[in-house]
């Protein structure tokens, strides 16, 4: 590709592959921070992104948690939305006509409360046609059933991935829970069960309390922490998982600029996703793409894939 503003002969390759899916650049958006794409279409050109990743969808509509659902904390945000959503049919009716018209792939984040439900949702989206990839949400901390219970149990994790693998050839991305002692065996389990890529990471279980009322600041009491405050811990997880698996990793957790994204790539990420920053600075994904390109030109890197995993951990 020949990006805008590049001098003759100075082309850099930004494209990466997630399974058999080719992305024009490695920058996508994190599920739950970008709605269904259409909401941001007035503010930015979605066709510049690597991919659009939609909010988690299960078979039936989901009402979500009571309010307050989010609370701002130092350099971050705790949320407990509860995966409110329109269900598979509602999504297809309301949002798919817009998304299928995009030039960039749509990645559908799916979840369920049973292994069978994950597989059924996967089957439905496989049958829909035109979907770029499926992201298996096995790591939402804010729902009683489903979500993180699958991502923190090796056996259940393998079952979910294998069950989805059976019903679709779409690239499968497993969105990993950070809430494990060691991520390596979970990464390996997802890879062995047929996952084409890993998304690392989801939010960290967290809590905030109002000292005057002595009440939790979230109706759900606890929630998931995201934003710049989680970046260093997410980078460590990516680094550990990258040593354990061969499949590509999509790094995410507090990315605000290209430097943050490049850090994730150095740790081992093939692609990255901008999450919480979308809420306050919607141009961030596009700025990250431009910044990665600039970095590559400055450092004489021709192919973005050269950055992946190139952290120098050995002292010379």
């Amino acid at each position: 590709m020949k990006p805008k503003g590049l001098k003759a002969g100075e082309t850099v390759n930004l494209s990466v592959k997630i399974g058999r899916l080719t992305l024009q650049n490695p920058v996508m958006v994190a599920s739950g921070t970008f709605g269904y794409g259409v909401e941001y279409s007035q503010l930015l050109d979605l066709n510049q992104l690597g991919a659009v990743v939609v909010k988690g969808i299960r078979l039936e509509p989901v009402r979500g948690n009571p309010t307050p659902r989010t609370v701002e904390v130092a350099s971050g945000l705790i949320n407990a939305i509860g995966l409110q959503g329109p269900g598979v049919d509602g999504f297809i009716k309301k949002y798919w006509p817009f998304l299928k018209g995009l030039k960039v792939p749509t990645i559908i984040n799916i979840w369920g409360t049973t292994v069978e439900e994950y597989a059924e949702v996967a089957r439905r989206f496989d049958a829909l046609g035109g979907v770029g990839a499926l992201e298996l949400n096995v790591s939402c901390p804010n729902i009683k059933e489903g979500g993180a219970q699958f991502g923190t149990d090796l056996k259940l994790l393998s079952q979910v991935v294998a069950a989805c693998r059976k019903v679709t050839e779409l690239p499968l991305i497993t969105k990993m829970s950070p809430n494990v002692v060691n991520i390596a065996p979970f990464a390996e389990a997802a890879e062995d069960a047929g996952s084409d890529a890993l998304a690392i990471t989801n939010s960290y279980p967290a809590m905030a309390i109002d000292i005057e009322t002595r009440k939790p600041k979230l109706a759900n009491i606890t929630g998931g922490l995201t934003g710049p405050c989680i970046k260093p811990i997410a980078i460590k997880l990516v680094w550990e998982a990258a040593k354990a698996v061969k499949i590509p990793i999509i790094g995410m957790g507090g990315i605000q600029n290209a430097a943050d994204a490049i850090e994730f790539m150095l740790a081992g990420a093939t692609a990255v996703a901008v999450g919480t920053a979308n809420f306050y600075a919607p141009q961030t994904p596009l700025q990250v793409i431009a910044g990665i390109r600039e970095f590559m030109q400055r450092r004489g890197i021709n192919d973005v894939r050269e950055i992946t995993g190139s952290v120098q951990t050995h002292q010379k």
Binding site: G32, T33, F34, G35, E39, Y40, Q42, L43, K55, P61, R63, G64, T67, P68, R69, T70, E72, A74, S75, G76, L77, N79, I81, Q84, G227, P228, T276, A277, N278, F279, Y280, A281, P282, Q283
Partner: protein, 264 residues
């Protein structure tokens, strides 16, 4: 909606802890409808990242203004910003008020605290003059009284401590006014903006006396554009209810739509 960096024209104290902020935004200003809001990012805040939503107060030529109260860190930092400083703004956002018709129901506004500012543009663009009932805890909480009077509106003030206007709650003179008209000839419509307790009371009056009412709902907000699903309120749907976004489906809702039995 547009996302822009705008310059502060002025940012001055109104009364007590209330401030009036004017920004130059030539592309945004002409798009603004009564009841809509601006989502503002206060750049000097280092560890507080999120934007803050503010109802739009006035629109003049290429500027718009907001009237805000310093309630936390965000508004505190904002109140110290000066003419020439820059803010990041996404606006106009949300579904606003329906402008009254020249020959329609008499508009009765109900405002609590800085909710008054959010109704100014509606009064200005209303072809009919009406009554605005404004309430607050004390004298300093009664805002924009002169502006509404200058538009030819009848302003009825109540304060809880009786330091200005009638002593009591804003709903008392409102009820008296509504009841002064016989139900069979009654032709009034309520428009309200203020704290949730007040809105609930207005919704109840509207329901009991069968008067249409549009309420600007106040719920903690995060993204402002409909993706994060933070600012939801329960709204009637089918046989039950569902959560809808105050930033997108609202902030203004028909009071009959709201599922009050499950609302906070």
């Amino acid at each position: 909606m547009l996302e822009q960096t705008v310059q502060i024209v002025s940012n001055e104290r109104d009364t007590d802890s209330y401030f009036r902020l004017v920004v130059r935004a030539p592309q945004i200003a002409p798009l603004i409808q009564p009841g809509q809001f601006a989502h503002v990012r206060v750049l000097p805040m280092k560890d507080a990242l999120l934007r803050r939503p503010f109802s739009i107060f006035q629109v003049q030529n290429d500027t718009f203004s907001i009237l805000y109260k310093t309630v936390g860190k965000g508004t505190e930092v904002l109140s110290r910003m000066r003419s020439g400083d820059e803010l990041e703004v996404i606006a106009p956002l949300g579904h606003g008020f329906t402008i009254p018709k020249p020959d329609g129901e008499t508009p009765l506004f109900v405002a609590g605290g800085y909710g008054m500012a959010a109704m100014y543009l509606l009064a200005q663009r209303s072809p009919q003059k009406g009554i605005v009932f404004v309430g607050g805890r004390k004298r300093v909480d009664i805002l924009c009284e002169k502006e509404f009077q200058a538009l030819g509106w009848d302003v009825r003030v109540t304060t809880e401590d009786g330091s200005h206007g009638e002593k009591g709650l804003v709903t008392q003179p409102l009820l008296a006014e509504v009841r002064s008209q016989k139900p069979e000839v009654r032709s009034q419509k309520l428009f309200a903006c203020g704290p949730t307790g007040m809105l609930k009371a207005v919704g109840k009056i509207a329901d009991e006396l069968k008067i249409p009412a549009e309420l600007s709902m106040d719920e903690h907000m995060c993204c402002g554009v409909g993706v994060c699903l933070t600012c939801v309120i329960p709204v009637k749907a089918g046989d039950g209810w569902e959560y809808q976004r105050t930033c997108t489906e609202g902030p203004v809702f028909d009071s009959r739509q709201i599922a009050w039995e499950v609302a906070k």
